[in-house]
Amino acid sequence: MSTATTSTEFALTARGVHVFYGQVHALRGAAFDCRPGEVTALIGDNGAGKSTLVKVLSGALAPDEGSVEVDGRPFLARTPSDAQDAGIETVYQDLSLAADLGPVQNMFLGREIRRPGILGRLGFLDDKAMAASAVEDFAKLGLRVDPRRGSVREMSGGQRQGVAVAKAVSWAKRVVLLDEPTAALGVVQTKGVLDMVRRVADQGLAVVLITHNMTDVLSVSDRVEVLRLGQRVASIERRDATLERLVAEMTGGTAPESEPTTDLSSDQEDQR
C-alpha cells in the first residue's frame, strides 16, 4: 500500500496557522505537511478545523496568522488563483460548482480554451475543444457520465462530486486537496475515487484526502495528519497507524473510553 516515491521533501507545509470566524477561534496554530507522491490523510472530528485549513492552503481564506510553504519556499496563496498558479487544486467540501453551468463549463471555469486567432483574442470560447477535452479527462478518470449534458443543477449529489473531483485532478500539477470527496458517493464510486487518488499520487503529486472513513484512510493513505480543536495533534506514518490509534488521537484520549465521550460537536468550549 505504501509507495516507492516517499520523500522527505514536503510539497506543502503550514505552520502556526490561526483563523478566527468572528469570535470562534477555528484554527489555533495548526501545522500541516504533505509530500509529493504520497496520499496524506487529514483527519479529525467534526469542527476540528479541517475544512478551514484546506481553505487556507488553497487561498480561499486568508489566515489571521501563520505561514505556508510550497516546495520549501514561502508561499501564501492570497486568492484561489494564486494557489492554482502554484499547481494546487482543491475539491471543497461544499463542492463550489456553478449550478447553472454544465459540467464542461465548470471544469474549464476561469481557464477556458479560446478559439484560435482573432476571435480567441476577443474572448470567444472554443466550446468544442473544451467538451472534447472534458470527455477525455472523464474517461481517463473512469467516470462515464457525459460531461456535455445539461447543467450541474440537474445532477445528483454523487454526479456533482464526480465533476468536482475530475476538475481538480485534471488541472493539478503539484498538490490536490480533497475535502471529503467521497461523502456522497456510493460504494463503487468511492472505490473509483480512491483508486484515482492512488493513481494521482503515483504520478508524483501530493494528494491530501480528508475523510471520516477510517477504513479508507487505512487503505489508501501513506501518512495521516490528525487535527484536534484547531491544532495538529499527531502526524503518523501508515505503518504506525491503527484504527484505535487514529480514533484515540482524534478524540484526544489514549484509549477511546478513557475520555468523556466526544459527540456531534467537538467545540466543547462552546457548550456552556
Binding site: R228, L229, Q231, A234, I236, Q268, R272
Partner: protein
C-alpha cells in the same frame, strides 16, 4: 519514521463573554441607531435647538408615520424573501374606494368614516391577497407580480375616479388627521401601535417564527409541516391590509387621494426595511430595525430643509447618506465576522 506531536488541547477560549463594547457594536441595529443619533447631533449643532423642538419632532413623526405602516408590511414580505412593489398603488386604490363608499353613505360623521375605514382595509387586504395568491399558490416572481398590481391598481384607481383625485372626506376624518393625544398626532400613535404589534408578532409568536423559517428555507419550512403557501399568502395580504389602512390614514391627514403621489412609496418602504437590517435573501430583519431605518430619510429631509439646503442638494445628500449607512454597517460586520462567504449582500 513516526512524528507524533501531541500538543496541549486548548481548554476554552472562544466563548469568553465578549466585552460590552463589542457586544454593542455587534448588535445588528448598531449602525442604523448610530447613524440616526449622529444625524440628530449634526442637525442640532447646525440648526440649533429648533431641531429638537416639540414641533419639529412631531412633524418628523408625522412625515414618517404613513410610510412606516407600509414599511412594516414590506418588511414582513422581505423577511419571507419576497418583495412588494405594489403598496403605494394599493394605498391609492384603497383610498379611492374608501372615498367612494363614504360618499355613498353620505353622512360626514363617524359612521361614514368607519365604513370608509373598513372599505379601505378590505380593498387593501383583497389586493394583497391577490398578490399573495399569485406569489405563493401560482409560484410567480414577487417583483413581477407586484409590479403588475402596482400598475393595475393605479390604473383602476383612475378608472374609478375618471382621472382626478377625490377629496370629499368626512369632517371627522379630517379632524382625526390633525388630532393629538398628549401632543402626539393620532396618526403617529396608530403607526406606532401597528409597529409594536407587528414587532411582537414577529419576535414572540409562532406566526413570526414561521415567517422567518419560510424566508430562511422555504423547503425546510414545508417539510416541518408549516403551511408555507397559506402563510406566504397571508403575509402579502397583511402587507395589502396595512397599505389599505395607510390609504385611509392618508385621506385623514391629506384630505385627498393623491393618485399620482405614491409611485415611489414602495421603494421608500423597502429602503427602510433594508437600512433596518432586512436582507432580500430573506430570513432576517426586524420591525424595530425598520422603524429606525424609516426614520433616517425623514430626519435627513427635515434637517436639510431647516439647514436651508437647496432641494436638489437634499436629494444628493440623501442618496449619499443611504450608501454611507450600509457602508458603515458593512464595515462593522467585516470587523466582526470578516468572512461570511455567502449572503454578503
Amino acid at each position: 519514521m513516526t512524528t507524533t506531536t501531541t500538543t496541549q488541547t486548548p481548554a476554552s477560549a472562544d466563548t469568553l463573554t465578549a466585552p460590552l463594547g463589542r457586544r454593542i457594536t455587534q448588535h445588528p441595529l448598531f449602525v442604523v441607531t448610530t447613524a440616526l443619533v449622529l444625524l440628530f447631533v449634526v442637525f442640532t449643532v447646525v440648526n440649533g435647538p429648533t431641531f429638537l423642538s416639540e414641533a419639529n419632532l412631531r412633524n418628523m413623526a408625522l412625515a414618517g408615520a404613513i410610510i412606516l405602516i407600509l414599511a412594516v408590511g414590506v418588511t414582513m414580505v422581505i423577511i419571507t424573501a419576497g418583495f412588494d412593489l405594489s403598496v403605494g398603488s394599493v394605498l391609492v386604490l384603497s383610498g379611492v374606494l374608501s372615498v367612494i363608499a363614504m360618499r355613498a353613505v353620505g353622512d360626514t360623521g363617524w359612521t361614514s368614516a368607519i365604513i370608509g375605514l373598513l372599505v379601505a382595509a378590505a380593498s387593501g387586504a383583497v389586493l394583497g391577497a391577490i398578490n399573495g395568491a399569485l406569489v405563493s399558490y401560482a409560484g410567480l416572481n414577487p417583483i413581477i407580480v407586484t409590479l403588475g398590481t402596482l400598475g393595475a391598481a393605479l390604473g383602476l384607481a383612475q378608472v374609478v375616479t375618471g382621472g382626478p383625485d377625490l377629496n370629499d372626506v368626512p369632517m371627522v376624518m379630517a379632524d382625526f388627521g390633525v388630532a393629538r393625544v398628549l401632543g402626539v398626532p393620532w396618526v403617529v400613535v396608530v403607526a406606532a401601535v401597528i409597529a409594536i404589534i407587528a414587532g411582537m408578532a414577529m419576535r414572540y409568536t409562532a406566526f413570526g417564527r414561521h415567517t422567518y423559517a419560510i424566508g430562511s428555507n422555504s423547503e425546510a419550512a414545508t417539510r416541518a409541516g408549516i403551511k408555507v403557501k397559506a402563510h406566504l399568502a397571508a403575509i402579502y395580504m397583511i402587507s395589502g391590509l396595512l397599505a389599505g389602512l395607510a390609504g385611509w390614514l392618508s385621506l385623514a391627514v391629506y384630505g385627498t387621494t393623491n393618485i399620482n403621489g405614491h409611485s415611489l412609496d414602495a421603494l421608500s418602504a423597502a429602503t427602510a426595511a433594508l437600512l433596518g437590517g432586512a436582507s432580500l435573501f430573506g430570513g432576517v430583519g426586524t420591525i424595530g430595525g425598520t422603524v429606525l431605518g424609516n426614520a433616517i430619510p425623514v430626519v435627513l429631509s427635515a434637517g436639510l430643509v431647516i439647514a436651508g439646503l437647496q432641494s436638489f442638494w437634499q436629494q444628493f445628500v440623501t442618496g449619499v447618506v443611504l450608501i454611507g449607512a450600509v457602508y458603515l454597517d458593512r464595515v462593522r460586520r467585516l470587523g466582526l465576522g470578516r468572512r461570511s462567504p455567502r449572503r454578503t449582500r
